[in-house]
Symmetry: C2
Subunit: 448 residues, 2 copies
Amino acid sequence: MTDPFVIVGGDAAGMSAASKAKREAPDRDVLVFEKGEWVSYAGCGMPYYIKGDVENLEDLVSVTPEEFREQRDVDLRTGHEVVAIDPEAKTVTVEADGERFEQSYGDLLIGTGARAIVPPFDGIDLEGVFTLRSMDQADAIEDYVSDHEPATAAIVGGGYVGVEMAEALDERGVDVSIFEMLPQTLQPFGEETAQVVEEHLREQGVDLHLETAVQGFAGSDHVEAVEVEDDSVSADLVIVGVGVAPNVELAEEAGIEIGETGAIATDEYGRTNYENVYAAGDCAEVENVVTGEPDHVPLALTANRAGRAIGSTVSGEPTETGGTAGTAIVKAFELGAARTGVIDDERAREAGFDPVSVTIDTETRPHYYPGATELTVTLVADRESNRVLGAGLVGPEGTKRIDTVATAVTSGLTVTELQNLDLAYAPPFSPVWDPILTAAKVLSGRLE
Amino acid sequence: MTDPFVIVGGDAAGMSAASKAKREAPDRDVLVFEKGEWVSYAGCGMPYYIKGDVENLEDLVSVTPEEFREQRDVDLRTGHEVVAIDPEAKTVTVEADGERFEQSYGDLLIGTGARAIVPPFDGIDLEGVFTLRSMDQADAIEDYVSDHEPATAAIVGGGYVGVEMAEALDERGVDVSIFEMLPQTLQPFGEETAQVVEEHLREQGVDLHLETAVQGFAGSDHVEAVEVEDDSVSADLVIVGVGVAPNVELAEEAGIEIGETGAIATDEYGRTNYENVYAAGDCAEVENVVTGEPDHVPLALTANRAGRAIGSTVSGEPTETGGTAGTAIVKAFELGAARTGVIDDERAREAGFDPVSVTIDTETRPHYYPGATELTVTLVADRESNRVLGAGLVGPEGTKRIDTVATAVTSGLTVTELQNLDLAYAPPFSPVWDPILTAAKVLSGRLE
């Protein structure tokens, strides 16, 4: 009898792998060790729970632990922490209820995820200072807002968590400030896209402090203010959202190779340097489809897909995990912002490209049709090959059009090929020349 | 001095070519002969003028004749009909105000468009029976609705014009019946997509008669009823929208080759069998990017793009017109329906494929996020190569996702490659697995 498929971590990658493996090879045991209590939840939905759009935190759970155990026959052990991996002996050491035991595996998946980075700010331990990464944290923030009705909130970091939490807290009647060290919010989305978002955030009453380093938090028992150079800004609540770091310590201690990005190195099947040891999700690298280099893009789809692929692979059907185009989309109040591929000049040059870009303001529908809104499109291509490298989009609607560019960059299309795509047109949906095509036309002119 | 670039027909293809040619080679004369008075108008917007969403018919004009003449320096002659082409002598014969004259050309573009097919129904000439192809017809229909306030309307044909006019007339308070000879509406969209549309049309109060051949129209001076086998249905207004036929007579008489589809045969630059004679838009064939065969898809984007490319080509920069994926989208009351590629089994087999398809019901957002709506996705692939051939989508929102599949079919992606695309996810915009990815997953299972 085959040794079981053991999974460390019960979130997107782990539970996708568990489900797929049981479906493909029902006779093989699948064990999942999850140190917390929540599994298979939509972390990206947490801001909308705090905002009040989602009624119960439990609504974010797609499959409950009971369903995994009873319907999917997965041996899911919550409250179980894997504290060591021995890839030679093919065992893991598990801690639960103060006890330790060894578990042998045939195949192992490391799906330990990522954690919120917590800089050593003064006052970081004050009541009312939170990060938002786990369901328990989401729960705690919601409770705090309900119980204390903060008048002001400071968000440290202008990334996804920052803009989503600004919207959520604003909806709860809180005056929001955002503090960002960089000269722009949403760094991966490019300057042009971020500028539109920033203008909108300010219109919505968000007090935006760019190029502003937070020095610490002040307060007696609970937080009362954020300290920055020469200033102190009132904050009854603080959310620290300055990024995430992959949880790789367990792997590293076991001699599993860590890549240049700081996440676990994997091949196209999600395999680490040890046979039968896989890594997927926010702790692992995947190939960037534009650069061909390993990348670390801790997002949900990548985790789900890689987990699922590994579930197939360990069941005898080798399946590639798929790469990442770094595609992302975020809502900021009434705007959507989206990005895909390589849009940062420096990053493009590092990957050997000579980037040329355009930013244009287009509309989502013809001028005569009611309800057209502005859509700002940034499109980037390589000068020599004319290959499309990436795009950023921002506007009140239509930002899912980023998928067209994601498909194009993955397929290696040139700007001319993008421009010649037969995209859907009818007045209620698009101008004759879809904004993506218009951007390609303009960029094409720059490349001549 | 180069002989002028002469264009026959002042709509999408013709005016795009004229504008581009003047931009690229400002010194060369560009003459456009348009037999009517309207040029460069958005024909697809006409139903929304009749509906009342667009206030003035003139709003549909993107560039006026005066702007073409004064700002773009195009010698636009409205009220001028080209009645003959002599490709050997490189001249056209033009009729205007009862006079005839010859005009020589260096390059010629035939952009004569297509006309509404008018079957020889009894009573076709009754007052109140219309086709909808030209701006004058849109004007006449609007006048008729305003003046006569018809209680009932019959639409013959369940294609684009049929469903769009059903919505428009319903909005004007008219009871609408649609008569369609085939067993389904929106034939190019596939059965599965059409069924969802048909259910919706009925919910909206449209009286839908499928597999019903119209025999004629009855009435004394104006139309009063539609006659079908064994029945007569009241109709104070009739719109005949049974399709279009390319205007190829002028080309055919000049010895220009007509393709198998019945439209003018062209190469990848839009050239006909005569050097320096081009054809573009609704009168011309273009290559289908899935089958590689010539196709006739009389839609606006194809016309605009081909015209623009020919404008470049005749100015010394050879530019391919781009192919068609047959991508289309249509609004039917509260639904959008979209299609791309080859989705009809018979057509796929003719093109040498072995089609396998799935139809799934998905949602546009995660279950917990407010406002998710159903999206029905049909995805078709070739069994042997696993290449994606086409898709149909239908639902209240999110149907512009068809562009992802249009890009995929144009790039020749397999179902696995489609499934591995990194599409944008955040709860306000999409489930983790975008509906297109979910369909690819399911189809992938069928292909194993």
